[in-house]
Amino acid sequence: QQQVKQSPQSLIVQKGGISIINCAYENTAFDYFPWYQQFPGKGPALLIAIRPDVSEKKEGRFTISFNKSAKQFSLHIMDSQPGDSATYFCAASSGANSKLTFGKGITLSVRP
């Protein structure tokens, strides 16, 4: 059973547009929800993370929206740029050990 599901599987956005990636989770014990960005040949890098006590968190052009009742969270990339073209993973964890469960990732392409 996949505990963290991402959608869509791939996304193409025009430069300057808004990229929206969604994630749904099963385990109600999850209490930490990060998003990662990965470029080809590199390790993932933490973009932004949220905890269930807030519904939205913004850092620069990146915003996480969190809906606890729907067990969903999403990443919004405002003013998308070609340099944002990468694979994006959502993840979730619970407890102090912070064992992350990852979604399968989506490939974002931002066209000039």
Binding site: V4, Y32, P34, G41, K42, G43, P44, A45, L46, A49, R51, F89, A91, A96, N97, S98, K99, L100, T101, F102, G103, K104, G105
Partner: protein
């Protein structure tokens, strides 16, 4: 990938051979993790450690062993490699903030392993 190094970067093994992957960090982080990444599968946790001398199993531990004899190093061993272990392996380190959640995370650059 600042502060986290992985050795080697690439390796080709034959079925049944053994090898050790090394993850080294210079940030004094307590928490270290080994993940594998396969196409279309995301990252899956193999083993992790919450401090020197401690290790625990993750989601896909079979066929792997780990050791954390020194705080800065986390070793992943394959005793008898199988083609199913062909993957890209990532090490990650976390520091927990006062909130109890990770406030600093780094992933290494990865080790690409092929088992023939």
């Amino acid at each position: 990938n600042a502060g986290v190094t992985q050795t080697p970067k690439f390796r080709v093994l034959k079925t049944g051979q053994s090898m050790t992957l090394l993850c080294a960090q210079d940030m004094n982080h307590e928490y270290m993790y080994w993940y594998r990444q396969d196409p279309g599968m995301g990252l899956r946790l193999i083993h992790y450690s919450v401090g020197e001398g401690t290790t625990a199993k993750g989601e896909v531990p079979d066929g792997y062993n780990v050791s954390r004899l020194k705080k800065q190093n986390f070793l992943l061993g394959l005793e008898s490699a199988a083609p199913s272990q062909t993957s890209v392996y990532f090490c990650a380190t976390y520091r927990l903030g006062l909130s109890g959640y990770p406030d600093t995370q780094y992933f290494g650059p990865g080790t690409r392993l092929t088992v023939l």
